[in-house]
């Protein structure tokens, strides 16, 4: 015997499928990323200085607490990210790749960070500063 769905159930199922393949992926992806990025104390975009440099070039971290920094290289060349004062070196971050570094600052102060890969003729300008403060 062939089962026939009620008209309203079919309409609801169809609407669910259409929304699930159109709006839902967009909303779902953005919501997930919003939720996921809450774990990052700082979210840095890395580009060569003439294309925008690190963005932001300064941010604040709390002293004595573990923080995760995300560095997204959206450039076409390799970049790096190092904070010598905090003992952080993300190594080479290839074009299109993302690095996550965890750091627990033990003292307050300003700590410069910079690119460790010769990425452009303005490479030496690719730098910024982390302000470590009491919470």
């Amino acid at each position: 015997m062939k089962l026939k769905w009620p008209r309203s159930a079919r309409a609801a199922f169809t609407a669910l499928l259409v929304i699930g393949s159109t709006l839902a992926p967009i909303v779902g992806i953005l919501a997930y990323e919003k939720y996921r990025s809450r774990q990052f104390a700082a979210d840095i975009v890395a580009r060569a200085p003439e294309k925008g440099n690190y963005s932001p070039q300064s941010f604040t971290l709390p002293v004595g607490r573990k923080s995760v920094i995300r560095i997204r290289n959206i450039d076409t060349v390799v970049h790096g990210f190092a904070v010598p004062g905090l003992g952080v070196d993300a190594g080479q971050i290839k074009a299109g790749h993302v690095a996550l570094v965890a750091v627990t600052p033990e003292k307050t102060g300003d700590f410069p960070f910079y690119c460790t890969v010769w990425c452009s003729e303005f490479h030496l300008n690719m730098r910024g500063v982390i302000h470590v403060v009491e919470e």
Binding site: T14, S21, R36, I74, G96, L100
Partner: protein
Amino acid sequence: MPDQTAVSNKFLGIIPMDGRLELTALPGVRWLFKKRWFPMAAILFNMFMFMVILLSGVVGGFSSGNYIFGIMIVWILWWVMLMMVLVPVFSRTWCMVCPLPSFGEWLQRLRVFGVNNKLFGLNVKWPERLRNMWLCNFLFLATTFCSGFFTVKPLATFLLLGGIIAIGIVLSMIFEKRSFCLYVCPVSGFQGLYSNLAMTEIRRKNPAICEKHKNKTCETGNKNGYGCPWLCKPHSLNRNTYCGMCLECFKTCPFDNMAFNLRFPGTDILVNSKRGLDEAWKGFIMMGIAIMFYVAMMGPWGGLKDWVRASTLGGWLTFVSLHASMNLLVIPGVFLVFAWLSKLASGAKDVPLRQVYVNLSYSLVPMGLAAWIAFSFGFLLPNGSYIIHVLSDPFAWGWNLFGTANFPWTPVLTRLLVPLQFITLFGGFVFAADYGFKLALQTYGDRRTAVRGFMPLLAMLMLVTILFGRLYGG
């Protein structure tokens, strides 16, 4: 007029080309084709993918094309699939599952799965003068003017796909059925022409049944399905060119008289129906674009790359002028010389040059498709591995959905790249030469005249093969 029927039905005089294997005779295939959810399920999946692609065009990484989901999926995976598998094997199957016109079609039908043959919208007939490939030709060519952006700028891909969806919706509210797909969509034209070479087809099974069937529900529709959305007459379909393989005719035929056949590749090239200059120019444009893409994307000419990427407006305008001239004038002009030589060599004074020109131009279908397949190897093998990365991290946000976000760039079998390209080009040449001779035979009628008329075409096909071999082989 020459006898148009004296064409050998054997490939290279050896392999029979008339055989058909009906795939819908296999258990389950016809059942699947008759289900309304079948193409729609694939369309909805592709819709999901395109939403992710569109989103990746406006968020996520910006500068590095290799790590952009939209660019990799559209211009590496989809394009390669289209050129290497979908069109040569399954004809216009992509059109069956393409999500881009779906919003417009749903609006027309006011249904997603169900059937409503009273279509919403103005349902105006497409202008008679534009019922050909000319608009597709110009739009596809115009799209390639921006090829320097599409493969590196995600926003450009977003604008292109978003624009196609938007235009599709607007036109579907004005014009009847799939007029947009038939006469406007830039991807449609070359699929139509190259699907003549495909190994599959949708055709009626028994002509007598269709002749007796007065209602022609495959055209008009019934409670089981829509009248052909592609404005074809499935009961007398003899070429793949304008069949979007939507499978509606399987649903509407009350006699199960439609078949999905496996066949020898390219038999539609010999079907002398609706041939015209629009399709000839499509063949020329596809050859020209293959040359330009290779020269600009993989060639060593940095100055040309700067033009294509619009480093300066003047440079880009120079590129557009040269590219348009080559495709619309130079290549058709060169072909005209060989068509004229063919007519001259044949000695057939009663055959119009236009007929020689149009008919022989179809020999470029296998040659062009082979050039595109060979070109596709050139970016699939070195760059295909990027797809593994972007599947896990589609927006360059540091995701790792499938654990492959750190998969390194891994060129695959690149030492075989040039041999594969040469083999593909040679295969294309063999098909082009065989079909070229059959087209000459169709055009000139008797064998001796056709042999003479074929010689200039053969020389041209050899030159084209050598040109592409030289380009790809370096």
